[in-house]
Amino acid sequence: TQLLEQSPQFLSIQEGENLTVYCNSSSVFSSLQWYRQEPGEGPVLLVTVVTGGEVKKLKRLTFQFGDARKDSSLHITAAQPGDTGLYLCSQGGSEKLVFGKGTKLTVNP
């Protein structure tokens, strides 16, 4: 079973700061997804990356997929309180998703 490690586990920052969170695997991803989960809600898909070296941008969020497809990062520029939530990475490519434990981000106003 593929193990996904996310770091940091917790992150608390002030509004306007930049941040990066990481997702690493013990083996190659066929594809990787990032989700954000707010308290009391289910995860919401942010992006899917497939190709090694791929970079995708979603407004202030930048997602990178490692060249070897074993790691990924999510960078948030000028974080806002609305970015607060649990950021989860998951490997796809098969019927069941395997999730990391997530990074709990708090952005303070």
């Binding site: 996904l4 594809s31 997804q33 989700y35 009391g40 289910g42 989860l88 098969s94 998703l97 395997v98």
Partner: protein
């Protein structure tokens, strides 16, 4: 509705009681998934349906857990003789069986076993 819905949103059960959790997937979505999310953890896979067929139940933690989707739409996750360790959020997701298995999640049912 437009999204995946789950009911009840909250359930409190006494140890030993049976519970039933319902999931209404997005209309037309062929695949349906159940996950268990413990406090401070990521979701963990329980089981998967394609239409009415349960194709993978490898994540069900014990034979007290049972899921069904008899008409290929609504699904029910049943937990018999609940234990305290069953306390968690149970998430349902559905999927149109897209290429990269992008799933749409419901809000979850928070189960507390006393």
């Amino acid at each position: 509705g437009a999204g995946v819905s789950q009911s009840p949103r909250y359930k409190v059960a006494k140890r030993g009681q049976d519970v039933a959790l319902r999931c209404d997937p997005i209309s037309g979505h062929v695949s349906l998934f159940w996950y268990q999310q413990a406090l401070g953890q990521g979701p963990e896979f329980l089981t998967y349906f394609q239409n009415e067929a349960q194709l993978d139940k490898s994540g069900l933690p014990s034979d007290r857990f049972f899921a069904e989707r008899p008409e290929g739409s609504v699904s029910t996750l049943k937990i018999q003789r609940t234990q305290q360790e069953d306390s968690a959020v149970y998430l349902c997701a559905s999927n149109f069986r897209g290429t990269y298995n992008e799933q749409f999640f419901g809000p979850g049912t928070r189960l507390t076993v006393l």
